[in-house]
C-alpha cells in the first residue's frame, strides 16, 4: 500500500490520542490533570464512537494509573497513559516499577511546571526529575513529532523492553492546533506489529512464575546492569526505527540530536522540545544577519546521545544550552548532562547555560537573538561571564 498521509488539523494532545489509537493500544489507564486532559478525553471519544475497543480504566490517581498500566502490560497488553507535572511526580515510584519489571509502557507527559506556586504552563522540570527512573524520554518539538513520537516510542520500547515517555509542551503544543500528517492504519500496523511480551501473566502453559521478587545483593546488581544494556541497545534501535520511519513516512528520525545548520556553525543552541522550533526560526534570521549559528535539538534525553553530542561538540567553539528546567543547587539539567558527557573527550567547546521559559515564560525569536549576541561576546572573549544565566530575570 502506497503511503498517502491523512492530514488533520489537531492539537498536540489530539495528535497524542490519535497516535495511541493508531498504535492499537489495548489498555489505557489515566487520571485527569491540566493540560493532559484532552488526550484521555479524545481516547474516550474514540471508544464512545466505536472506533476502538480499548479497555479504559478511569483510575483514582496517577499512581494507580501507572500501577494499572503495569498490571496490564505484565499481562501482555499494549498499555498507554498520559499525565503532567504533579501527576507525573505522584507516579514516580511506579515509574521505577515499570522499568524494573521491563514493561514497554508508553506515556505522554505534557510538560508543566511544578507547584508551588501553582502553574499550569510549560516547564521541563517535571519530566527531567524522572531522569533516573529507567524510562526513555523523547521530547517533541511540534504536534507532528508528538504523533510520530508515540508510534515510534512503542516500537522502540517493545524492542528493548523498557518504558518510554513522549513529552510535549503545555499549551504551546498540547492546546495549539497545527496540521499533522497521520498514517493510514494498515501502514502503522506494518510498521508496528503486535507486541511480543518478554513474559505474560496470562501464560499458564509454562511453569508458574513470579515477577519482581526480592533479589538479594548477590543478584540485584545484575538486573540493574541489564537495564543499562537495554538503554544502550535502545540507542541503536532508536536510530534504526527512526530511519525506517523516515523511509516509510518521509520524516527521518535517525538522529537522536537533530542538527539544524550546524555544519559550519561557530556556535550552536542546544535544547529540547517546542522551544527549539523558535530557535530554528531564529537561526535562519541570525544567519541572514551574519551569525554563523546552528541548532541542536536533543530529541532523546534518555538514553542520552553522548556520541552524537561529541560529534557536534568537537566542531564548534561554543554551545549555548537552553534549559527550560532547573536542578536547584546546581544548574539547568541538560547543561549538566551535556558537560558531563563531554568531560572525558577532547571536545572542549565553551558551554554556557541559559535558563529560559520556566513556568511558561514567553521565549521568542528576539530572546534567541539576545542570547546569540551574548554567546558571541563570550566566545570572542574566550571566557564565560557567568556559567548559568537566569536570562529572563527582572533585575
Amino acid at each position: 500500500m502506497e503511503y498517502k498521509p491523512i492530514r488533520k488539523v489537531v492539537s498536540g494532545n489530539y495528535a497524542a490520542a490519535y497516535a495511541a489509537l493508531h498504535s492499537r493500544v489495548q489498555v489505557v489507564a489515566a487520571y485527569p490533570i491540566t493540560p493532559q486532559t484532552s488526550i484521555i478525553e479524545k481516547i474516550a471519544e474514540f471508544i464512545a464512537n466505536g472506533e476502538t475497543d480499548i479497555q479504559y480504566v478511569p483510575v483514582e490517581s496517577e499512581h494507580s494509573a501507572m500501577a494499572a498500566c503495569i498490571g496490564a502490560s505484565a499481562t501482555g497488553a499494549r498499555a498507554f497513559t498520559a499525565t503532567s507535572a504533579q501527576g507525573l511526580a505522584l507516579m514516580h515510584e511506579m515509574l521505577h516499577w515499570a522499568s524494573g519489571a521491563r514493561l514497554p509502557i508508553v506515556m505522554v507527559d505534557v510538560n508543566r511546571a511544578m507547584a508551588p506556586p501553582w502553574s499550569v504552563w510549560d516547564d521541563q522540570t517535571d519530566s527531567l526529575a524522572q531522569r533516573d527512573t529507567g524510562w526513555m524520554q523523547f521530547y517533541a518539538e511540534n504536534n507532528q513529532e508528538v504523533y510520530d513520537g508515540v508510534i515510534m516510542a512503542f516500537k522502540v520500547a517493545e524492542t528493548v523492553n523498557l518504558p518510554a515517555m513522549v513529552i510535549e509542551s503545555a499549551f504551546i503544543l498540547s492546546h495549539t492546533y497545527d496540521v499533522v500528517e497521520m498514517i493510514p492504519q494498515e501502514l502503522v500496523d506494518e510498521f508496528l506489529p503486535p507486541r511480543k511480551p518478554l513474559y505474560d501473566l496470562a501464560d499458564f502453559e509454562r511453569e508458574p512464575f513470579s515477577v519482581g521478587s526480592l533479589a538479594t545483593p548477590a543478584d540485584y546488581y545484575e538486573f540493574r546492569y541489564k537495564i543499562q544494556k537495554a538503554m544502550e541497545e535502545a540507542k541503536k534501535v532508536i536510530k534504526e526505527v527512526g530511519r525506517e520511519f523516515g523511509e516509510r513516512f518521509g520524516r527521518d528520525y535517525s538522529q537522536m540530536i537533530e542538527t539544524y545548520r550546524t555544519d559550519d556553525a561557530d556556535f550552536v543552541f542546544m535544547g529540547m522540545g517546542s522551544l527549539m522550533g523558535t530557535v530554528k526560526q531564529a537561526v535562519d534570521i541570525l544567519r541572514q544577519e551574519g551569525y554563523k549559528v546552528g541548532a541542536a535539538k536533543v530529541r532523546w534525553f534518555r538514553p542520552f546521545p553522548k556520541e552524537e553530542l561529541y560529534e557536534l561538540a568537537k566542531n564548534v567553539d561554543g554551545i549555548a544550552v537552553l534549559d527550560r528546567n532547573y536542578s536547584f543547587g546546581m544548574e539547568g539539567i541538560l547543561f549538566t548532562e551535556a558537560k558531563g558527557a563531554l568531560y572525558n573527550t577532547d571536545a572542549k567547546p565553551l558551554m554556557k547555560n541559559y535558563i529560559v521559559g520556566l513556568g511558561g515564560r514567553d521565549f521568542t525569536v528576539n530572546d534567541v537573538r539576545k542570547i546569540a549576541e551574548n554567546m558571541n561576546a563570550v566566545i570572542e572573549k574566550g571566557e564565560l561571564d557567568v556559567e548559568v544565566d537566569w536570562y529572563h530575570l527582572k533585575r
Binding site: S64, A67, T75, G212
Partner: protein, 311 residues
C-alpha cells in the same frame, strides 16, 4: 507423594497442593496457611498481585517461587490498581475471567497494605467494579517491617510503636472496620474468613469465583512473631477470635448479610480467652479489657442487627 484415592474422599479440602514448601514464613504463620488455601481453591490458572508485605518474602526470593500460580509483585499501595490493569488486559485480549474455566485474579495484601496505604487503590478497585478478588490477610500490624501498629491493630495491643512502658502507651484506637468500608461500596460479594475454618474460607473463595464483579475477603491470619504467641497456638487463637465474636465470620452478598460463626443465638466466649494466649495483650489492665470487650459486643450486636434487618 500422591494422596491415596480412598483418602482424598475423606479430605475436607482439595487435595492438590499449589503452595510449595521451603518458603520462609515464620513458624506457625497464618498468612502462609491462607495462601495455601487460596491456591487449593483456585489452582494454576491464577494471577496473583502481592504488594509489599510478609507475603512478598513468603512467595519466594528470586529466583524461587512458592506459588504454583503466576505472581506479580507490586508496590505497597497499588494492589487494587494492579488488579484493575490485569483484568483490563485479559478483557482486551479476550481471555475469560472467573468461573470454572476462567482466570482468577487475586490481590493478596496485608492489613497495612489494605486498611492504610492501599485504601485508596482498594476503593478505586471496588468502585470501578473490576472482575477480581481482593483478599486482605489481617495479622493486625505491619509485621514485615517489625510489628508496627496499623489501623487494623486492636485496642490494647502492644506493637513496636505502641510499646506500653511507664506511660501505658499501647494501641488506643479500636480496629478499623475495613469490611464495613468495603461493603459501603455495595460490591456483589464481601466476607470475613479465618484460617481456623478453611472449609468455610474455601467455600467463600468459590463463591467469589462464581460471582461476577469485585469481591473482597478479610482473612484473619495469626502472626506468632508479632502477637508474641506460641507458634503452635495459631489455629487455636484464630478459632477463639471467632468464638469470642472478636472476629465474627459473615458474608455480604447482593445486599444481604449472613452470619456464619459464632452462633448469634448464643453468648460469645469472653474476650479474655482470646487475649490470654497472646503476649501482645499482656500489658492490658482490667479496664482495658473491659473497653475492648465492650467494643467487641457492641460491634457484634450491630452485625446481628444488620443480619436481622438485611438478612
Amino acid at each position: 507423594m500422591e494422596i491415596p484415592e480412598q483418602v482424598k474422599k475423606k479430605l475436607t479440602l482439595p487435595a492438590e497442593e499449589y503452595f510449595y514448601a521451603g518458603h520462609t514464613a515464620c513458624q506457625g504463620c497464618g498468612a502462609a496457611l491462607g495462601l495455601r488455601y487460596v491456591l487449593k481453591a483456585y489452582g494454576r490458572k491464577t494471577i496473583f498481585a502481592i504488594p509489599a508485605c510478609c507475603s512478598t518474602i513468603i512467595a519466594g526470593a528470586w529466583p524461587y517461587n512458592t506459588l504454583g500460580a503466576n505472581l506479580f509483585q507490586t508496590a505497597f499501595e497499588t494492589t487494587g490498581a494492579v488488579l484493575g490493569g490485569i483484568e483490563a488486559a485479559l478483557k482486551a485480549r479476550g481471555i475469560k475471567v472467573k468461573g470454572e474455566d476462567g482466570v482468577m485474579i487475586v490481590g493478596w495484601a496485608g492489613d497495612g497494605g489494605t486498611a492504610d496505604i492501599g485504601l485508596q487503590a482498594l476503593s478505586g478497585f471496588l468502585e470501578r467494579g473490576h472482575d477480581a478478588l481482593y483478599i486482605m490477610y489481617d495479622n493486625e500490624a505491619y509485621m514485615n517491617t517489625g510489628i508496627q501498629r496499623s489501623s487494623s491493630t486492636p485496642y490494647g495491643a502492644w506493637t513496636t510503636n505502641t510499646p506500653g512502658g511507664k506511660r501505658h502507651f499501647l494501641e488506643k484506637r479500636h480496629k478499623k472496620k475495613v469490611i464495613d468500608i468495603v461493603i459501603a461500596h455495595d460490591i456483589p460479594y464481601a466476607a470475613t474468613a479465618s484460617v481456623a475454618y478453611p472449609e468455610d474460607f474455601i467455600r467463600k473463595l468459590k463463591t467469589a469465583q462464581k460471582t461476577p464483579g469485585p469481591s473482597f475477603i478479610q482473612l484473619f491470619a495469626p502472626c506468632p512473631t508479632g502477637w508474641r504467641s506460641p507458634t503452635d497456638k495459631s489455629i487455636e487463637i484464630a478459632r477463639l477470635a471467632v468464638q469470642t465474636a472478636y472476629f465474627p465470620l459473615f458474608e455480604y452478598k447482593e445486599g444481604k448479610y449472613r452470619i456464619n460463626m459464632p452462633n448469634p443465638k448464643k453468648e460469645p466466649k469472653p474476650i479474655e480467652e482470646f487475649l490470654k494466649l497472646q503476649g501482645r495483650f499482656k500489658y492490658m489492665t482490667k479496664e482495658d479489657i473491659e473497653t475492648l470487650q465492650g467494643w467487641v459486643l457492641r460491634e457484634w450486636e450491630k452485625l446481628k442487627k444488620l443480619a436481622e434487618v438485611f438478612g
